[in-house]
């Protein structure tokens, strides 16, 4: 897509309720990062943050799109959906808060840690939501090559 060889981008459409394919988008992005030889720690953080965002679209929204951009410095993930939106974002961000129904919990989701997980694994995390319209999550994961193990 991009003329610059070191930048890769793409997108995936996600269908609400599509549990059979839940995780396919995140897995594809993970595969792409592996093929590009991106460092393991970055791949793990991107995969986890993207997977939680993908699950939220599948669980709560009607449909959505996940876009990714991989550069030598960072990975940008944007998850945008058409759905019910979030009324109280501060509440939704609290660890353990979840409105997931029982049948979702039976599939192992609904611990109320998805948004905290996304935040934990990104260097920049932004969430915007309009009730009745949808939700958008922006995440930037900075690539840390050898040099910055120190800030752990």
């Amino acid at each position: 897509m991009s003329s610059h060889r070191q930048i890769k981008e793409g997108s995936f459409h996600i269908l609400g309720g599509d549990f059979a394919n839940a995780g396919e988008a995140s897995t594809s992005i993970k595969r792409e990062l592996l093929e590009m030889g991106v460092e393991e720690d970055t791949i793990r953080r991107v995969s986890i943050a993207t997977f939680e965002a993908e699950m939220n679209i599948i669980i709560y929204a009607t449909a959505g799109i996940i876009r990714y951009t991989i550069t030598p410095e960072e990975v940008i993930i944007i998850a945008e959906d058409m759905g019910p939106g979030i009324e109280d974002i501060e509440l939704a961000m609290q660890e353990g808060y979840s409105t997931a129904p029982d049948w979702v919990r039976e599939m192992g989701w609904g611990a109320g840690m998805g948004l905290p997980n996304m935040k934990k694994n990104s260097d920049v995390f932004k969430i915007d939501s309009v009730v009745g319209e949808g939700t958008r999550v922006d995440m930037i994961i900075k690539r840390r090559r050898n040099e910055t193990e120190a800030d752990q």
Binding site: G23, T27, E40, R44, S47, F51, M107, G108, W109, G114
Partner: protein
Amino acid sequence: MRLRQIRELLDAVIVHQAIPEDTDLSWAIATDLMSEVLYYSKDNSLLITGLTRQQAIRTAHIADIRVVVFTKGKEPDFQTLELAKDKGVTLLITPHCTFSACGILYERGMRCCPDE
């Protein structure tokens, strides 16, 4: 702790093996909540879970967990087994419940994933 030892201690059956039996696993996490796996696990963890579904395999793959143990003897369905094969996740079934499986491995020195 090596995969072989885990299998023996847990009286487990390996239903899909993607890594050698002498592979060393650093630590373990036990939960049925997938977000907890994503939050607390480290790479090269062992996942012990009663959630014997595709979600567990998918989550393990995303979190770089190479070995999953299903507890209480619960057999995976066809899709779950196929996903384990596709993603290269080694899958064991133990007749023990999650509590006992953890106790057995803890007694032999396995520990939970360390905090940050």
